[in-house]
Symmetry: C2
């Protein structure tokens, strides 16, 4: 007898993964290493440890250990909000009248509102273990900053957040959540740092970018005693921590013998997608399965679909190491009409390499189409999704509608990374019919790429 | 061997209650009936059905049927977000260093952000079944309006919401969530109704009250073809629907042989508390158990602790029937410095009668103490609670601290009704040290009570 699949598949607490999965360890051709822009040689642990916590540096550089134990203190915290549910989107399937079976892994049921907490608590733990006073970081849509504030509060660490100015203005209440957790929040670019002042001088009136906020946070971290910098995406360590999403997803699917045909995730820096696909990609690399894996990015910030695979700076201020990645150039700033996150100019090196090897696909979507999907989803599935997550919803709906045409009963799994409670300015724009799309011109793209450093 | 209690106790989908529990059916001395202010006789089904849907009128008047089947369509919707978790507050216990065992039933993990959805979907279902075009309603903190918008959207009904002006202004984004679900939202008192115009004339600059918003919504419902009025609290039908909270809580506790000593809930109109305690109160009425049951209300709107048990109007405009309840008088409007919900002048008749019989206790708490508890809870339990819910948190923490003094390992269960994502203006005030308390003077109370109708 076939097992009935519930609306929400919950693992029990004991099934929370006890090890993270290090995807790079399974890759024959590894992602290119971070390099030092001054020496053009791979960054050493010593160099990186001026910016990052020691244990995180170790994780950053480790591309051989397949599984890494999750410390007990982090596992305890995970129990606060994990395992997260894998939801069968019965209501959405019915609304779309599709033969497709749709599942989503919902990471939004914690106060940070997204998957970011999975890595934030790990990074705070290692900072605490090292005896640090606090950390600095940046936040775009605000989810990472909120997550880091929660994590720091839990371990009694100070937390200084630089928030991309456009988000700071669109999401005044995000700041208050961070403050409620004891963090300080500064809009970026700000006059409080050298790089912030420089950027403000060059681009007065800029709405900011993640690349710029990163530069400011790094500057403060390296110039403050007892502080290190933490980052919510892009880095290898973040993908490692986020593998908990994929591992839980796989365990929940396995419980009901469900084999996905296509796995979809939104991609800004790549942390959610990298985590979601980790165990599936391992099977693919081992020739055991052949899932389609799709990255969905905003048409206004199309790193994968229109960027170049090259070494580039990770930040606007060029204070960070160089990473080989799909990038639009570290000077690329998405159009001001772009709402919310997924604003990063590059893409984590692991996904970049996998994409380059043809192991995954990418597509870009325009934001009005994204909000249309978000609203449809909210109305039938009862969850108000974050704009970022709604990129994946858009792609999943499109895939399901194609199934309707072809009659195929494909199994679609997507990552629903977070909730949209702090994105109501964007929703309001959409509700009022005032939201617009902007696709960068070829000249915009060329201009960004012209700033790539000469490395190879 | 003693069973280990997980952080979150989840029932499975099949354990969602299939019947609501009608607490009144178990009471020997029933709550007093609603009466018609013109005739001073109990309201008939016919009279009530001008305002409410027929099936809901039946539920409103039924004080003999102990269990009522939940229609399949509502059960299907419940699967979207139920069962809700019963959480063991291990982190809070540790932070308080208390021998008490604390549990909370968390109703905030749905987009409406609270327990209100449990009754909203039922009321929308019955409106749809009756072939109505839409419903009108009021909302205070905004949770009920959001819940009703979601429910109406699901069944394709129009939804007109009158939102208490102070909340409308403090929570601009609540409106956008409702709009995203297709509802229209009007700040109350408004110039769009007769009663609204009258109140604005009498009290220019008023910040509004639930009682006033109710009057406006009822006026529009009875004067519009194909519309009925729906209410999110106070009514018997709402307590009936909310019994799903208590039934799940009891089932989860029973699974681990946990017997609570004290059950705590915040109380505005009483819907959450009435639902949470339903099965426990039945045991108490049957002499099978002797739980302490505690209602927690704001010191600025103390219906139980300083009100009078008397027949009163349910609304400011006196268009509704009279209910016998603990009340501050239908003209009572809480001080403008009071943040958020729990602003209703009265209390559901069932809880009023139980309180009068000495079967439950009540206490009032001041809002700065409430936000202190909210922040402490947020930091250790990782959930940003609604101000309303935080009244229960305050009382639960106080109870646990008393256990610390006495060394008693009491088991405390409280209802965490919702999340505070849309309450950041209030949190900001608290974070900035600008929140104040206002306790009504004896004159304020006497003034409100002076307006009670002469009935008995």
């Amino acid at each position: 007898m076939k097992q009935e699949i519930p609306y929400k598949i919950y693992l029990n607490e004991k099934e929370i993964p006890r090890q993270w999965l290090n995807l790079r360890a399974f890759m024959d051709k590894k992602p290119a290493p971070l390099i030092n822009p001054a020496t053009l040689r791979p960054m050493t642990a010593e160099e990186l440890s001026r910016v990052f916590c020691n244990e995180l540096v170790k994780q950053e550089l480790d591309d051989t250990t397949p599984y890494i134990d999750i410390p007990q203190e982090i596992l305890d915290f995970y129990k606060m909000y994990r395992p997260s549910p894998l939801v069968r989107a019965y209501f959405l399937e019915k609304a779309l009248d599709t033969p497709a079976k749709i599942y989503y892994k919902f990471e939004g049921n914690n106060t940070s509102g997204s998957h970011k907490l999975n890595s934030a608590i790990a990074q705070a733990y290692y900072a605490k273990s090292q005896g640090l006073r606090g950390v600095t970081t940046e936040t775009g849509a605000g989810q990472w900053g909120t997550a880091m504030s929660m994590a720091c509060s839990y371990f009694g660490l100070d937390c200084k957040v630089f928030m991309v100015k456009v988000s700071y203005e669109q999401k005044p209440f995000r700041r208050e959540v961070m403050r409620t957790y004891g963090a300080s929040v500064t809009p970026s670019p700000s006059p409080t740092t050298n790089i912030g002042r420089k950027i403000l001088q060059e681009f007065p009136g800029t709405t900011g970018s993640l690349g710029c906020a990163i530069s400011e946070a790094v500057e403060v971290a390296v110039s403050s005693e007892g502080y290190r910098y933490v980052l919510g995406s892009v880095l290898n360590q973040v993908l490692l921590h986020q593998s908990v999403i994929g591992l839980e997803t796989k365990a929940a699917l396995d419980k009901y013998d469900i084999v996905p045909d296509v796995i979809i995730g939104c991609a800004g820096g790549g942390s959610n997608l990298g985590g979601l696909i980790a165990p599936f990609m391992v099977e693919k690399l081992q020739g055991k399965a052949n899932y389609r894996i799709v990255a969905v990015e905003p048409a206004s910030c199309p790193s994968f679909t229109r960027g170049k695979y090259a070494y580039d700076f990770c930040d606007t201020g060029k204070v960070c190491p160089l990473a080989k990645m799909y990038t639009l150039g570290s000077g690329f700033i998405p159009s001001a009409n772009h709402a919310g996150g997924l604003r990063y100019h590059g893409m984590t090196t692991t996904l970049s390499e996998l994409y380059d090897q043809g192991l995954m696909e990418a597509r870009s979507v325009e934001q009005t189409a994204v909000f249309e999907a978000a609203e449809q989803f909210a109305r039938v599935e009862g969850i108000l999704p974050a704009p970022e997550s709604s990129h994946a919803i858009r792609a999943a709906i499109d895939e399901a509608l194609r199934c309707k045409q072809t009659g195929e009963a494909k199994t679609i799994v997507f990552g629903l990374t977070g909730t949209g409670y702090f994105d109501m300015v964007a929703y309001q724009k959409y509700n009022d019919g005032e939201m617009s799309d902007y696709i960068p011109t070829d000249e915009d793209i060329a201009k960004g790429l012209a700033g790539l450093p000469k490395v190879e």
